[in-house]
């Protein structure tokens, strides 16, 4: 059976140059970057070079503003929890949105148990917040604003540049979860006045279990993990040098030209998929919008009258990997908090939608195959419905 991977917002395959770099590093550079001998220095040098590449990619002022972590979750947890703990004498109010990733939302819930107050900004049907809502929510005791750069379920972008300017004029720090956006759209921490930014390597063809937290120079807070003095005391634990070198390699691949090319390619996939389905008379609607400034690799579609569980399972049995939100520990799908925030708790979209997310390895042939398979599945389901299978 042919297998097509259209779940690149969950994770991506590693790029060949990344694998090659990592293989070489694993064999040759096994020293501990904190050691003072030859092997340690060699590792340290790779670490410094990688950090430089990554710092440049977000236009950091200094390389040391980049702290390597185990990934998006740890970066988000650190940025939110440790900022709140460090700034509790300044205030105990935090602002976020209703459509953040669990790594942010669960951190917020944790802060609430510690007595912090959290404001969750609503989103419209396009999955975007309003700047007026943000302005109205900001208070004197607001210590942190955490708003994602781009949404992982519907691809909506938040007005990060404008948010950065607004927050910079207050006492609060600005954190953005850029896990989905990083590597696909331009991020400039100076221009956008970002204080803290989370990323993950495996979303851009790098290794899993690795990410970084950008923290603007001058912000002081503790490491989430307690231990050694690595990363200038900002993240305890021995650095994974091969993975970090692989991450830098992955970042080098997605230069500005490549990012633009990918956004364009994925936007083409979106058009191809939607018009192909419409041509086949499949009733389909976009959740969110087809905006040119959105993250183009994510497409969330509402298949009217079709159960997402049935669709997803049928797709998998036909070799196509997509997603319909997160699963509970017993494997069954949870309702999407993002779609609920956009369309209300009772919208049929919540149980009738699928997310397709594209990667650099996908081709128009893949999308063609997806259109064929989806059409035949949905037509068969509609037929059996009218025939009455039982």
């Amino acid at each position: 059976m042919k297998h097509i991977y259209l779940d690149n917002a969950a994770t991506t395959p590693m790029a060949r140059p990344v694998v090659d770099t990592m293989n070489k590093m694993m064999l040759d550079v096994y020293g501990n970057a904190s050691s003072t001998h030859y092997f340690g220095r060699k590792a340290r040098s790779v670490l410094d070079d990688s950090r430089h590449v990554i710092a440049q990619s977000v236009n950091a002022r200094k390389d040391d503003e980049i702290v390597f972590t185990s990934g998006g979750t740890e970066s988000d947890n650190t940025a939110i929890i440790e900022t709140a703990l460090a700034r509790k004498s300044v205030g105990r109010h935090v602002i976020t949105t209703a459509v953040e990733h669990e790594a942010v939302l669960k951190s917020m819930e944790y802060l609430e148990t510690l007595g912090y107050e959290v404001t969750y900004l609503p989103v419209n049907e396009k999955g975007r917040i309003s700047l007026d809502d943000l302005k109205n929510a900001l208070r004197e005791d607001t210590i942190l604003v955490s708003i994602m750069s781009g949404n992982n379920e519907v691809g909506s972008r938040m007005p990060i540049h404008e948010i950065g300017q607004i927050v910079a004029a207050t006492n609060a720090w600005f954190h953005t979860d850029a896990v989905q956006a990083y590597g696909l759209v331009d991020i400039d921490v100076q221009k956008d006045k970002i204080d803290l930014l989370s990323t993950s390597a495996h979303k851009l063809n790098g290794p899993k279990f690795l990410g970084f937290l950008y923290r603007r120079d001058g912000l002081n807070f503790a490491s989430l993990l307690k231990g050694g003095d690595q990363e200038l005391k900002r993240r305890a634990g021995t650095e994974n040098i091969p993975a970090i070198a692989g991450f830098a390699e992955a970042v080098k691949i997605v230069d500005n030209e490549e990012k633009e090319a990918r956004q364009k390619k994925y936007a083409g996939f979106k058009q191809q998929l939607i018009s192909g389905l419409q041509k086949n008379k499949i009733e389909v609607e976009v959740n969110g919008e087809l905006a040119s400034d959105n993250l183009q690799h994510v497409l969330n579609l509402w298949f009217k009258g079709c159960s997402r569980e049935v669709l997803l399972t049928n797709l998998d049995l036909n070799g196509i990997a997509a997603s319909a939100g997160s699963a509970c520990t017993a494997g069954s799908l949870e309702p999407s908090h993002v779609l609920m925030a956009m369309y209300g708790e009772d919208s049929p979209r919540i149980v009738e939608s699928l997310r397709f997310s594209f990667g650099y390895q996908n081709t128009t042939t893949d999308i063609e195959y997806l259109i064929d398979v989806l059409t035949s599945i949905i037509n068969k389901l509609k037929r059996s419905e009218t025939d009455g299978i039982r």
Binding site: S307, E309, V310, T313, N314, D316, L317, A327, C328, T329, A330, G331, S332, L333, K380, L381, S384, I389, R390
Partner: protein, 373 residues
């Protein structure tokens, strides 16, 4: 018939040893096997510990070992609306329902079957100890499981032809110990897992405590049939006909025999108790039932026939005379039967064949209705 590799069988995998072996055997036989775990109970709804996570983990381990795809499907709404609501309603009426019968009828062989058909299944397979015999014309007959100790036809007796036609019970012809042996030899993670007992959603928890979370208990008097008060009961729903445990009555009766529940009066909220396991009030010689269901047509038998019956799971068969009137039945027993319980099924057998069943409404001693509800 289609080639086995082209025949898709969707297996209802519970995370137990029986359905694990079902999936394993079908895969060995060359079928296109898909494992599906049903999540029927929302553990956030009550205070108990849900085993769904653990069970799903076991499904994943077993399915990966066998080399089949596996999925989870959520039937919480279907279970709540069609099984649990019925379950509570029956208790409110003072009866003792059988949710497993209803779960098979409404969830496993309906919602799940529909779901499997939407996955292009040719059959669904389950780990029940029951067997199917298919006639030339396609008619299906339900037969007792080969392991008489495990036979589960009681719970399948309300299913229709249409439901059973699409079913397979691959371990129905096996002994439980052989099922475990196969699981062990195949290295399945569930080989030594303890069998689940009790009602699926309640599991090993305290039954009364669970029930009282959903139904407010109304305490009342506990008395003998001739009106002597023997104490208080804590809600009629917490007792079932023939029960001995939990009455808390000392031997202050006519003898030293233990006390048993012999009846309930729902209107007056009275629990009747009497002494002796063989208390005469516990014995009935006939019953009325409704919701009669016959798995295959019984035209050859007419509306009056003799067969055997079980009145609860794992009971020995008793000879009975059955009179049918549409979906109502009147059943006369060859000899008196102890503790006939309204809400349970009376399941009919002709030798090894399970004919079908009806839900017990009233039990009689001669012409007198036993005060069971």
């Amino acid at each position: 018939m289609k080639d086995r590799s082209q025949t898709r069988v969707v297996v209802g995998m519970s995370g137990g040893v029986d359905s694990s072996v079902v999936a394993y055997l079908l895969k060995q036989q060359g079928y296109d096997v898909v494992g599906v775990f049903m999540k029927n109970w929302d553990d956030k709804k009550d205070s108990g510990v849900c085993t769904a996570t653990e069970d799903y983990e076991d499904v994943a381990k077993v399915a990966n070992k066998i080399g089949i795809p596996y999925y989870s499907v959520n039937f919480e709404k279907e279970y709540w609306d069609n099984v649990f609501t019925y379950f509570l309603d029956e208790y409110k009426r003072g009866r003792t329902p059988n949710p497993d019968v209803m779960c098979n009828k409404e969830v496993k062989f309906k919602a799940f079957l529909d779901y499997a058909m939407q996955l292009d299944a040719d059959y669904i397979a389950m780990g029940h100890y029951a067997q199917l015999r298919r006639d030339q014309d396609g008619t299906v007959h339900l037969l007792r499981g080969a392991d008489s100790n495990k036979d589960q036809t009681y719970f399948l007796s309300q299913l229709s032809q249409r439901q059973l036609k699409k079913a397979m019970f691959p371990i129905g012809n096996m002994q439980k110990k052989d099922v475990r042996r196969i699981a062990e030899e195949a290295g399945l993670a569930t080989a030594k897992k303890k069998d689940s007992t009790g009602v699926c959603f309640i599991g090993e928890r305290n039954f009364s405590k669970f029930l009282n979370e959903f139904l407010p208990a109304k305490s009342g008097k506990m008395m003998t049939i001739d009106g002597k008060i023997k104490g208080d009961h804590y809600g009629l729903m917490n007792y079932t006909i023939g029960q001995r445990r939990g009455l808390g009555i000392g031997g202050n009766g006519q003898s030293n025999d233990p006390w048993f529940v012999i009846g309930k009066d729902l209107e007056k909220n009275i629990l009747y108790v009497g002494q002796g396991y063989h208390n005469e009030h516990l014995y009935a010689d006939s019953l009325d039932g409704s919701n009669a269901n016959f798995i295959a047509p019984i035209d050859d038998k007419g509306t009056e026939f003799h067969c055997t019956a079980k009145f609860r799971y794992r009971q020995k068969d008793t000879g009975v005379h059955v009179s049918l009137d549409a979906d109502k039945v009147r059943v006369e027993f060859d000899q008196p039967v102890r503790a006939i319980t309204p809400g349970q099924e009376v399941v009919f057998y002709d030798g090894e064949v399970c004919l079908g069943s009806a839900t017990i409404d009233h039990a009689y001693q001669k012409t007198r209705v036993l005060q069971y509800v």
